[in-house]
Amino acid sequence: MEISRQPASSPEEFRARQLRARDMLRGDLEGEELQRFVEERVLTARLDTAVSWARGNAIFPLTFGLACCAIEFMSIVGARVDVARFGFEALRASPRQADLIVLSGRISIKMAPVIRRIYDQMLEPKWVIAMGACSSSMGVFNNYAIVPADKFLPVDVHVPGCPPRPEALMHGVLKLRAQIHNDPGESWRSRYAAQDTEEVIGPAAGHDGPDTIDVFGAGDSAGA
């Protein structure tokens, strides 16, 4: 959500705006006041859309490669799956100039604080794509030496694969672009009409009757 910051105004102006907002909610605004009210809102909404359109179409990825996924990340810059058609060919080396960090590869425990520091150096707005299985979950290696990215970074898009094909990574980048444009598109929820489901976790959800089968409890064949 965009938080639009208004410059500090005088208390009288603020009071006048409050009264106008109250009248709008009551349906009492009319004529010129109503028109001005609507124009202000529409302009801001249009500006937000324009800004997100521009942001999404000019993401500067960070040149950051860890392991095998980095080679497929380099392929995406290559000529076959050309990331330049979407405007993302300006890979910046400095985190201060980059928007997007693609965690391409396995993150070892020695590298995790370094990545966090790089992420902190990036300026808002910034996005993270966890590319490949190793950075999202532990991947092929479930051991002492690596850590999944979700533990220390907020990740926007996870791209599965080991390594993901360049086309798969491109799909993930385009999903991120759609996310930036505030238009996430059809997801599985709308496809399966699962918009308003509610997850019930644990016995504390309030269903304690004798008919309930606790699927989260210890293994017990009585309810089978």
Binding site: N142, Y144, A145, V215, G219
Partner: protein, 169 residues
């Protein structure tokens, strides 16, 4: 690879130069191995290097848990002129894991010895800079020992997702 008799001849030569240096010989799948007493390891390897095995192909560690002595350091030596390989194996116990460093013979042993120290805890006396190389500097434990847990994240299924706190955050 020297054949079985060649291996025995080399072992005999080394034993003549220093008694009790070569504890055993092994000839397995056309590969020759000398099992050497830890205090005599450096001298034996130096003799082998002077003989003709002048290239250190690999230096790595093995954990023979539960066999004692537990930690092994293996040197793969190579003679480039006759394409001959020989393996030297040194076994030390965990309570006295010291082996003489061969950095003076081959500067290329610097990083592999650091790795064996990091992963197994074998201390190479005479190494100029023995500290952890792959794990973070302040890590505790020697990961590739057999009794070190493999670690990792638990795989979350529906039956244990409650028991792993905070995974949804």
């Amino acid at each position: 690879m020297p054949d079985a008799t060649g291996l025995e001849l080399i072992a005999q030569e080394l034993r003549e130069a220093e008694a009790d240096s070569v504890l055993d010989t092994l000839f397995f799948r056309d590969r020759a191995t000398l099992i050497v007493n830890p205090p005599a390891a450096h001298a034996t390897i130096e003799r082998l290097k002077a003989k003709r095995y002048g290239f250190l192909a690999s230096l790595h560690g093995v954990d023979y848990y539960p066999d004692e002595p537990r930690l092994g350091v293996i040197y793969e030596l190579l003679d480039m002129s006759s394409v001959d390989r020989i393996t030297v194996k040194v076994r030390v116990a965990t309570d006295a894991p010291e082996v003489d460093s061969v950095v003076d013979l081959w500067p290329g042993a610097h990083n592999p010895e650091r790795e064996v120290y990091d992963m197994f805890g074998v201390v190479f006396t005479g190494h100029p800079d023995l500290r952890r190389i792959l794990m973070p500097e302040d890590y505790e434990g020697h990961p590739q020992r057999r009794d070190f847990p493999i670690g990792g994240e638990p795989v979350i299924f529906t039956y244990n997702e409650n028991k792993v706190p905070g995974w949804t955050q």
